[in-house]
Amino acid sequence: MIVELGHFALILAFAVAVAQTIVPMVGAHNRWSGWMAVAEPAAIVQAVLVAFSFAALTYAFVTSDFSLRLVVLNSHTDKPMLYKVTGVWGNHEGSLLLWVLILAVFGAAAAVWGGNLRDTLRARVLGVQAAVGVAFYAFILFTSNPFIRLEVPPFNGEDLNPLLQDPGLAFHPPFLYLGYVGLSMAFSFAVAALIEGRVDAAWGRWVRPWTLAAWLFLTIGIALGSWWAYYELGWGGFWFWDPVENASFMPWLIAAALLHSAIVVEKREALKAWTILLAILAFGFSLVGTFIVRSGVITSVHAFANDPERGVWILVILGVFTGGALLLYAVRAPVMQAKGVFGVVSRESALVANNLLLAVSCFVVFVGTIWPLVAEMAFDRTLSVGPPFFDAAFTPFVIATAILVPMGSLMPWKRGRAKALKPVIPVLILSLAVLALVWAMQTGRSAGGPLGAALGVWLVVGAAVDLLTRTGRGAWSNRLSRLTRLPRADWGKAVAHAGLGVTIFGVAALTAWEQERLEALDIGDSLTVGNVTVTLDAVDRVEGPNYVATVATLSTWEDGEPIGVLRPEKRIYPVARMPTTEAGIDNGITRDVYAVIGDPQVGGGWAIRVYIKPFANWIWGGAILMALGGLVSLTDRRWRIAAGARKAPAGPAPVPAE
């Protein structure tokens, strides 16, 4: 019964979304305030309905209702409760329901907090948001309905994919969705502004927090996925340039660009057309990502044929929304004139350079991801584009962006001079000193390690210097007390930029200095890698709730001191008939000791692989810092005080630079 009510609520939400698309749009066109006012209650009702629908599906999973096809395919009574709940979105249908839930919740949030928007803009934003919803409701109801019952319910389910039965991966999709769907808000604002033909500082101010929130969720989602890959896949890789990873990385890059260009719109009323384009592209790439993952088209052209209906649906959604928005953009963009003018050396120019680098680096990822498809279709060549291409083509953009960050963030708005860069000179010297020092310490290895260390210092110390220069002059005690009173947005910026530095250092250090040792060990044997020695004490069979594991017990010494016991596992999930590995990891600040148990060897013993992974945790630590920076920035006081309430043109008066 509850399941049927959930199904019905979803259909109702579909109907409400249709009304929310049409009525406010017509109202905004004709300035009928009554029609425009439909948008807010509709957005809230829609969110409540989808939330109920989602709760109903969750209820079916929690109670293991095996009359529901989706529950049978993705659950099992023995599965721990946590994974019964996360199993709701661990499949195509449920994850789409989560997608529309988040879409509706974002729409409702805009309705609740949008009181200060112009009536017409608010109505149109909610209308566009609902239009995206309509497309996805139709997609769910017509091709991917999660509420389909079985005539003959089986006795038990087929279990969730074991890879998904892990805390890191269980919460990876919701964060990614919060990011993707958050970008739909930026998209709705962009399309609404294009329809209105007006983009001003207030618009920039409205779009920024949504984009920031979306970007911060994407950061967490991507970091969770990467961290999971690191400890779960058995060789400690953290990024594979796989199409589905790239699908989440492209919107992240564009969102980062949008975040920065919206600042220019808000502060200086320039780069308006470009910012609108980025907002469209950011959501466009979210849809491209959905298409790539859902259709399987990139895995192989032939996989597309397995489920063409879903693939074509998403392609149509992608075409209608991105194509339609770009068409509207082509017609309307010339109307948007910049008010603020800026010099060649200025904060604005630095942000243009940032945008250019981020956008082109996103293009690198995009072209590398779709090239196998293009080559097969257009040139009849079956080829692969793997990590070596991305490493070679993407890394230069990371380095260029990292070099730019501390300099750009010190530049004054409008018109700067090279003098503004004086505070980074000590940072530059320090970074070069670190470069030389690290270079001298390592022998015969790649340049990546020293370069990463130097860039890390450059970004982290550069962020600190950026904060210090904002405290002005005078006695240090005054400056330090001013430091604590700086706007949260300044702190957020510094923390996020420092986080980027930490991540770059972590990636470079791990890539350059990793050590690995593989040996076949009998019980009692030892192996040594670098300054770490492990002894295989035992190999046991252990029964888990819904799996059987082979667990090795490895006593571990570092520089002759015992640092504890590592317990790498190999698990078999009998219901899903799938093996997984759980690495045994000793986490440390400067290194992880990472052990994996392999297969039993023909000549006796077990294949044991031990890695020393220097500074591995810094990769995700940096990502946490970036997300934290976004969060701190979101709590800035000026987002809480009404954007439109103070004065209509929120930006500074347009003063020509000449």
Binding site: S95, L163, L169, H172, P173, L176, G221, I222, G225, W228, E232, G234, G237, F240, W241, D242, V244, E245, A247, S248, A270, G289, I292, V293, G296, T299, Q337, K339, V341, F342, V344, S349, V352, L356, V360, F363, V367, W371, A375, A378, F379, R381, T382, L383, S384, V385, G386, P387, F389, A393, A520, K570, P579, D599, Q601, V602, G603, A607, A648, P656
Partner: protein, 150 residues
């Protein structure tokens, strides 16, 4: 979208990769074999190199690479040998010949184009006269200024 999940549904048969019995005695040759393996694709996996994969064909290819190295082939000869048999699909690093030039050059072209457009835009900006306030804003302004009293 679901991040790595789907990627790994097919690919992730975990553990293994290089097995102890495959390792060459000569550490220099072994090092070269590992480097080469990282650039060769496991043909039945999804986006995994033969160095990472535990699939049977990956093991066969690893053994083949080591066999060629022991026989005295250079790195390039080993790669050519494998590509001859398995096609360029096996290369994780795409070649730069023919149409693949587009892949390598397109990002640089876009960067150059972007720099050009941005440069022109920045150096040729003209301030536009302020369009002033529209009727609604005028009304709001009047309302606000009238509130102030005399």
């Amino acid at each position: 979208m679901r991040g790595l999940v789907l990627a790994l549904l097919l690919a992730a048969v975990p553990a293994a990769a290089v097995e102890p019995d495959e390792v060459l005695d000569d550490p220099v040759l072994e090092e070269r074999a590992r480097d080469l393996s990282k650039g060769l694709r496991c043909l039945v996996c999804r986006n995994e190199s033969i160095d990472e994969s535990s699939a049977g064909i990956a093991r066969d290819l690893r053994l083949l690479v080591r066999e060629r190295l022991v026989a005295g082939d250079t790195d390039a000869e080993v790669i050519d040998f494998v590509v001859d048999r398995y096609g360029e699909y096996v290369l994780l690093n795409p070649t730069t010949d023919g149409a693949n030039l587009i892949l390598w050059i397109a990002p640089l072209a876009l960067l150059a184009l972007g720099m050009g457009v941005a440069g022109v835009h920045i150096t040729r900006q003209r301030p536009v006269p302020d369009a002033g306030l529209d009727a609604v804003e005028e009304a709001r302004l009047r309302e606000l200024t009238e509130d102030r009293g005399p």
